[in-house]
Symmetry: C2
Subunit: 383 residues, 2 copies
């Protein structure tokens, strides 16, 4: 398979955007990526769209076609991918595969979602599952994980809260982020309880938004792009409860991270920044461990010692994460890719990590009942 | 890219199956395909699932993971694909791509859907579209096409009705088909009007069902399978209203068919049978023309002269089509693949076409507003 490069990225601001349709959000992100790449959109030979709730919330099937029709891209193969929170990352992976295989010379991958329907509404896409019907929704799942992690490793509510404080701080440096407000540890801990120990400010909001990337072969990238970013690894994996449902460890992530490091030839010591899946504070802390930046159980130390801040040893979510950007489900995985590309090109403004060469994007989708449905890891590198 | 072969297929009976969940339907089809291939399911390295309404009707996201979890297939990459009626065919295409690229040595593609919610309910997944809100649902769209075809080419209601008669006849020969009843031309014409000139018996029903195929490389297929079926072409294309919205011609299909014939090295004269998208009678007639089996406007002659019957020059929908099998949206494209594999292997029982060597599967998804969202054509060949 061929090496694949990203030559353009773009996104919308994330947030509550009732004035914009799903098609308009997607169009804005895709056009921004096309302009960033400086290409003629007619060069794009395939489109992959990550979307979860287009049909269920808005009566829109074929989100990818709807968006690209608005961009003026027609006739090519267009596919819509659903993999829960990992939908955008999975669309990106399939676009990578198409270009890597040589089936397409250029493809656009994007994620788009409108999840905000009304204040206080929770995403309700799991009612077909037994555990959901028994009351175990997403906040409940991550609260169980948090409680178990605290029990096994002594992780504290303060440590979890510091992750929210950090990500909201980073979000203030990111003009695309939904939240633009600093919070203190006390404010996070004392905000309304959602599922003990997770409060409102320990949780990501429902949001609208879209993000996109243009992928192409090495030869095209090297000819047309000053700062191409190489896709060094693309890994997708489903969980298996191999660890006997030990909720304090993402077993699937240990395997997926190993695969991604093997595929890229890099190790955790080579990674300069991470964008990870932080729908709740505990998730980010578990990813410090799952991705190999510390031993299992030591995540709390990383946030205490500032290692995951911008300027620290391994900045996590310099873009603000889901906690600050919000979580348009199908778009979040693509937003991470966009942020890493901006960081690797040195275009991340006030939240710029110092001279990064390699970045890692991690996102997962799915719930407890059948473990994690989709763990996606991408490693991107500046040559 | 490598040549890819199908070494096993399986499906459920299609119909109203309220006693079976989406997971159970998918499991049955995938297990049937695994048993047919005679492989250890642990050999499967990726899963692609076509599904449209899992979230909107049943609150089940990650249908592919849910199904494969029940089969006992975990840890591997699993992706869910939505492309309206072409979802199953698109899942199959992506699995083909993964094996062709060499990323996977063996993959399972399947489609699964439960659309039957109550008698008389129509599939309502397009309410986000302007033309749908103005009243133009799927029966309306195809009725417009029928009226235009009749106006331009003199096609008659009798000719359209004969397609329903033929497909219901073929369905009686297919134990997997929802309908097992013969109808006369008069009965089709005199059944309740849905959208003039299309009656209830000119339309496919909502149904539940699943279908699956195991794909692998040439070397594995030749070693482990007595009757491997080669994927000679996989084409996916989005429409563009290039023909100025001439509703009597599927312009996108003329392009897609040309691509598929070019890719396979075969022409219409080489094709021994077709499974095509016949949600309404007019659709099948237009596919006679769009796929190149007669000139534009001459479709009526093919049905009048019996050329599209089993035993005719080019049997269309020997399995009974959507008109007889029903239309579990995400599964129909995969059912076509299964039927063609059975036909090419000589295992189609009473509906067997005589010694076929090459079969073509065509399905399309999407509506008028942005033309056809996805036209998928696969050509399968017995070596």
């Amino acid at each position: 398979m061929r090496e694949v490069y990203i030559i353009g990225v773009g996104m919308t601001k994330f947030g509550r955007l009732p004035e914009k349709t799903l098609a308009e959000l997607g169009r804005e992100a895709v056009w921004n990526a096309i302009r960033d790449a400086g290409i003629n959109p007619k060069k794009i030979q395939a489109g992959y769209c990550g979307n979860v709730q287009g049909i269920s919330l808005w009566g829109v099937f074929g989100s990818g076609q709807v968006v690209l029709w608005e961009v003026g891209i027609k006739e090519i193969p267009i596919m819509n991918i659903e993999n829960a929170c990992a939908s955008g990352a999975t669309a990106f992976r399939e676009a990578w595969l198409g270009v890597a295989a040589g089936l397409y010379d250029m493809a656009v991958a994007f994620g788009v979602e409108k999840t905000f329907v009304r204040k206080g509404a929770m995403i309700d896409i799991g009612k077909g599952f037994f555990e959901n019907r028994m009351g175990n929704n997403m906040p409940g799942e991550f609260a169980l994980r948090a409680k178990r992690h605290m029990h096994e490793f002594g992780t504290t509510t303060e440590q979890l809260a510091k992750i929210s404080v950090k990500n909201h701080h980073n979000g203030c440096l990111n003009p695309y982020s939904q939240f633009q407000k600093e919070f203190t540890v006390e404010e996070v801990i004392n905000s309304s309880m959602v599922a003990d120990p997770l409060t409102v400010l320990s949780s990501c909001p429902n949001s609208d938004g879209a993000a996109a990337a243009i992928l192409t072969s090495r030869s095209v990238a090297k000819k047309h792009c000053k700062k191409p970013v190489r896709i060094a690894a693309s890994v997708l994996r489903t969980g298996s409860h191999k660890n006997d449902r030990n909720l304090a460890v993402f077993d699937v992530e240990l395997q997926a991270a190993k695969e991604a490091y093997d595929m890229s030839g890099y190790g955790p010591e080579d990674i300069d920044l991470c964008e990870c899946h932080d729908p709740f504070t505990i998730a980010e802390l578990m990813h410090y461990e799952g991705l190999g930046f510390c031993k299992i159980g030591e995540g709390g130390r990383l946030i205490d010692q500032g290692e995951v801040e911008i300027g620290g040893r391994i900045p996590f979510n310099p873009g603000g994460g889901l906690l600050s950007n919000g979580h348009p489900v199908g778009a979040s995985g693509m937003r991470q890719i966009v942020e890493i590309v901006w960081q690797l090109r040195g275009e991340a403004g006030r939240r710029q990590v110092e001279n990064p060469r390699i970045g890692l994007a991690q996102i997962m989708g799915g719930g407890i009942e059948m473990d994690v449905a989709a763990e996606a890891i991408h490693i991107l590198a500046r040559d």
